[in-house]
Subunit: 720 residues, 2 copies
């Protein structure tokens, strides 16, 4: 096996918020801290690192990008201008601030809705979150005015995402600590193989309040790229990020061996190609000899079939879909959704141990789904004919940073059927009508440390939007002395499954909150629960004793729209426009259609559950409020959860015929199994937004069947 | 619009059980009953009708088919031999019996499991259900012995599926009834446009016991192929099939107009091609220039990637998958499932009215999912490179009948990902590994009158099997005087949604019971519920207050395995082999992973719910018993439900370390909407069978990525 990974000195990518960056040990002490290197790197190359360059399709360095739509993300020139503005901003003038996040401050919704192509853009503004001298500043930078127009110091709990500099300096602190080094020596881990990671600490009461901390845990990268499977168990170092000092070091696991590297690597060039466990299948490809049917206008407007929407990368949400509109039979583009995105991602591990209890991650707010979204792998993450979109972000010192090929957009035909009917021959009717289903997918994949989250937004010509989350990557595992279940006295007491020798895959959950600002035919909408209720027939009324009836109830306030899904008390959940009716007088709307799901069972007063209280319900509805974007709060790290969706909803505001936001919590329970080792086969779940009396009839009634003459003529490539 | 459908005299396909055959009115009285014509037709042509011939790929008439596997379906020569045996069987010798169903009587499981390629086949036997002189005979015909070896007369309730002859004779009865004809005249429906259908009556107490009945309802086919949208409301004629007499005629709807034909047709040649409601997308195709990677051996053995299984068409289940095995890392083909199929399909409509209460269909047992599975539409129902398999069935008089292209098998690449991981650049590791997901799909589509059910069995290389049911076709609608919701005094009292002028789409459910005879590494298996339970931490144990723990409980008896899914009391459900452990000592098994689902809410003592009591739970486990195949009972028509899955399960037999069968109920609630008119966009739901510690590690770890050189070179066809 080749040692690809034995790089003695780190090249660190300094995305401002990119903190879940595991780092290799770089020695007891080093005169050149890693972030110095980082800065050098940043100044000379806008690209992430050279390792990606071989696969970057789009060689645009975005030096001259211009925003063309009010929701277009900040451009490289704009980021440069923001840095310039901030460098002359009085409170920060003595030292350039550490920028934790820098992103578009969207114009007011009314401005966006009123804007038309050709109009001048509303003032371009950036939201900057900056941590300086123990305070979090929430800054607004107006690019048109060339000034900082707002500077609010946060007074509540919670810190911004840590920067790479925060993280690397914390790691430097432990690398020069004698007790830490003794612990590593005691495990027999070579310092050259040492890899440490800074998982976020959550919030568990006052002990760790008032200071920014991280909890460092380490792994052995010896003889494998998959260090995640080789944890140094029980060693946890709590570091005060700002004081650069160790708060606490616990080492409870010296008797627990570091699991072996056997069978951990997953890279293609480490596999045995002669194995026929998974035989090769013949080449297969979704082919479009005339190219895909969508266009990308002005960089971010996707037009496909009867859909048009705006899409942009976002450092925190990963991918934001805006102003999704679908064309109706009369040619009108009708509004469906103003804005949709993954707002938070909660991952609680189910182990109360000292080195595990705090693993209750909030991946969007603590790490950033965009910050951790690597370049997609062509032909494998996304099919041929995909369009790739780069992410343009900023580093901690305000430099533009490009994440190439972060989002892909592609058209899909998977052999599925849009609609069909065959008539019974006895009718004398020769009817065999069937229409193939072609859809459009926008995809990104966040690699938040060990886990990979694939986000798909799939648009169908029948008006349906399917939002799917897939999980792959590596388990977060716990080392154990046991090599076999038979050796374990009380296997039921384990907090997970033995997935390899000395390796436990710990039980955990995943919850993703989706913010869905629905605007069905306009901003003012209502939310209705259409409950299916069992009715009993009256004596003599019918030979039937019971039947179901749909009972529609419109929610007046937020309280009415906190929904726990119930298999035996089922409902449909409609967002509709009370000012618009269908031709037949039905309310025109969309329903949210849950698929497989899971609910959080943690105590409501358990600190992680308070912080992730958006998981208390599967559905919520709130009035649109620009400040209520992030279900776990704006400042999530170490927050106490005072500023979450649950808190907002508790105000019980009116939501009838208002500009409302629908929230959906998609959940997964994950009891690991051996098949998840060393890398997990994809598991996915989805939900749908589906038109309900929005169209006057089936909108794909006149879809064209596929005819033989439409199909491409293909040959195997000579080299295959 | 061209009048394709104006055929004055019917060609009726006489599949033995094909009774949901709507027929056109053929005049007050006719000296030549339709079934005479049918017989003529059958005698001269094995093919279904000439209308299909243009699209039949496979021109094999199956005259010389030979069974090569114990589970191969009956062949044309075998069916001919069975007819010959029956014609000389003493009790029937005076008149050839009416054959209601005729299908393979599977050898005992032990015989099948013991059989190896090259061995002589176990005796070939047929199960024949025949109704004669008021009695249902359950016959076994042994082809090797050339004799009827068993003839059991049914003593319980329930009748076999009706034959086309039963149905057409019942329709003739009403066509010559003066009151019926007066009702039609009163509605102003031209007799040339009259189309009548024989929906099954269910069972609703003693009034209709002791005689085979159908309830006839009619439609206007004037100016549309979609007569379903033009019901003649309130007219229901109950006919005694054997006496050929009307039992009861109710006509409550003369004031309700027959809905207009406007916008009802859905055939491509009736649509306006210039409409841009649903613009054309560029041609797109899953291309496999080297062809698909699966082979079909001996007609019914599918080999693909690491899977091998037997597949056969079945008149009742539609499609039966048998002996599914997956190859493990050591090359061993390991048993996963002995037999899997759709066992019953319950569709209760939610309207207690006289003309609606009985619409509580049991589509598999009353109509047959295979009997109603038409030829698939190439390139639209199934993609290019599909393999098509014909169904070989028998008519009521024992003649072989071919349903061409009834099942398709294809390989799928939809742009999805098998597994992936990208490493954080800060690690210095250049890791961006991703594997495309290619799967194998076996598909059929049953058109049970108005509704189309698409059944997909999808196999993944990671060992997962996904079973998906899609719903399309036409709503069953109710005519109403109202044209607009605003005109309805109490719209909440409607039993459905106004989906077009004068047309209500009535609320209904769909429940499909899947029989899954799991044989994980052998026949004897156990069922475990792995319950996720909230644990509270002890004071001082942890800063966490709560976490989840997986608690495994093995079911002892059937009672332990009657499962209602609960979002807030979640479990995994494992079938495992207690005699086999993984390398690490974990039980090796498969889990059933529910997706979206719905539960029946009808009263447990409501007659339709008693008959469809398999919907009382989402999961059941029973010991393997050859006589327990059909969740709603063997003889479903008018049955009282004494012989259902719920009754069997009530015996509470032992199921630990036994040959067990897992049953899953997949449900849909359907509140119609205007988008469902005049034909419904596909709605689907699925569940999965997923390996859990069955493989020692990720079985697709060494899957190959797609490289550019593997992709085909394609050109648009010159004519497209």
């Amino acid at each position: 096996m080749k040692k690809h990974y034995c790089i003695q000195f780190l090249i660190i990518i300094s995305v401002a918020v990119f903190i879940f960056a595991y780092t290799r040990y770089t020695g007891y002490s080093t005169s050149t801290p890693p972030w110095a290197t980082t800065k050098t790197h940043r100044n000379t190359n806008l690209r992430s690192t050279s390792i990606f360059d071989t696969t970057v399709r789009n060689s645009n360095h975005h030096f001259t990008d211009t925003p063309l739509h009010p929701l277009d993300p900040l451009t490289v020139p704009e980021i440069n201008k923001i840095r310039s503005i901030l460098s002359t901003y009085e409170p920060f003038s003595s030292s350039f601030p550490s920028i934790n996040t820098l992103s578009l401050d969207e114009p007011e919704k009314s401005q966006v809705l009123g804007w038309k192509t050709g109009d001048p853009l509303p003032n371009r503004r950036a939201s900057v979150i900056s941590f300086l001298d123990g305070k979090t500043h929430l800054l607004t930078v107006d690019l048109n005015l060339g000034a900082v127009t707002d500077d609010v110091v946060n007074v509540g709990s919670g810190y911004p995402m840590l920067t790479t500099e925060d993280m690397t300096s914390a790691l430097q602190v432990i690398y020069s600590d004698v007790e830490f080094n003794n612990s590593i020596i005691a495990r027999g881990v070579d310092f050259n193989d040492l890899i440490c990671a800074p998982p976020s600490p959550g919030w568990f009461g006052p002990d760790e309040e008032g200071k920014r901390i991280i909890k460092v845990q380490c792994f052995s990268g010896q003889n494998t790229s998959n260090f995640y499977m080789r944890p140094i168990e029980g060693l946890t170092v709590t570091v005060d990020v700002d004081k650069r000092a160790i708060v606490k070091l616990t080492d409870t696991g010296r008797k627990i061996p570091v699991p072996k590297e056997t069978n951990t690597d997953y890279r293609y060039d480490t596999q045995n190609p002669s194995s026929d466990l998974n035989p090769e299948t013949n080449p297969m490809s979704m082919e479009q000899p005339k190219g895909p049917s969508f266009t990308i206008e002005n960089g971010h407007i996707v037009k496909w079939a009867n859909w048009v929407f705006h899409i942009r990368p976002d450092i925190r949400a990963g991918m934001i879909i805006s102003q999704a509109k679908v064309r109706a039979e009369n040619g009108e583009y009708r509004s469906v959704m103003y804005k949709g995105f993954a707002s938070e991602l909660f991952v609680p591990y189910m182990d109360p141990d000292q080195s595990w209890y705090f693993k209750t991650f909030m991946d969007a707010g603590e790490y950033g789904l965009g910050a951790t979204a690597m370049s997609l792998v062509e032909l494998n993450d996304c099919p041929r004919y995909s369009y790739y979109m780069d992410g343009v972000f900023a580093t901690a010192d305000g430099q533009p940073f490009i994440q190439p090929n972060m989002i892909c957009i592609f058209e899909r035909y998977s052999g599925d059927i849009g609609w069909r009917h065959s008539e019974i021959p006895a009718m004398g009717l020769d009817i065999r009508e069937s229409r193939p289903k072609v859809t459009l997918v926008a995809r990104m994949a966040a690699s938040v440390g060990n886990y990979d989250y694939i986000f798909d937004w799939e648009f169908q010509t029948d008006g349906l939007i399917r939002i799917k989350v897939g999980l792959s990557g590596m388990l977060m595992v716990k080392a154990t002395p046991y090599e076999n279940v038979y050796d374990i006295a009380n296997a039921d007491d384990m907090t997970g499954t033995l997935v390899s020798e000395n390796v436990i895959g710990v039980v955990h959950d995943h919850y993703i909150s989706f913010h869905l600002d629905m605007d069905i035919d306009g901003a003012n909408n209502s939310f209705a629960e259409v409950n299916l209720v069992k009715e009993k027939t009256l004596p003599g009324e019918s030979p039937r004793k019971s039947y179901l009836k749909a009972k529609r109830k419109v929610a007046k306030t937020e309280d009415d729209a906190r929904i726990k899904l119930k298999l035996y008390d089922p409902s449909e959940f409609h967002v509709f426009n009370p000012a618009r009716r269908s031709r037949l007088g039905n309310p025109t709307g969309y329903k949210i259609v849950p698929g497989g799901n899971a609910a959080s069972l943690l105590d409501l007063d358990d600190p992680p559950q308070i912080r992730a209280a958006f998981t208390n319900n599967q559905i919520w509805v709130t009035p649109h409020n620009k400040s209520e974007q992030w279900a776990g709060g704006l400042l999530v790290s170490q927050s106490k959860g005072e500023n979450t969706l649950a808190v907002w909803s508790d105000r019980n505001r009116e939501i009838e015929n208002k500009d409302i936001v629908l929230w959906y919590t998609l959940g997964f329970h994950h009891i690991p199994c051996q098949e998840d080792f060393p890398v997990m086969p994809m598991v996915s779940s989805s939900f749908e937004l589906k038109p309900v009396n929005f169209f006057d009839r089936n909108p794909i009634l006149n879809a064209k069947p596929t005819f033989q003459k439409d199909l491409p003529v293909c040959f195997a490539a000579s080299s295959s």
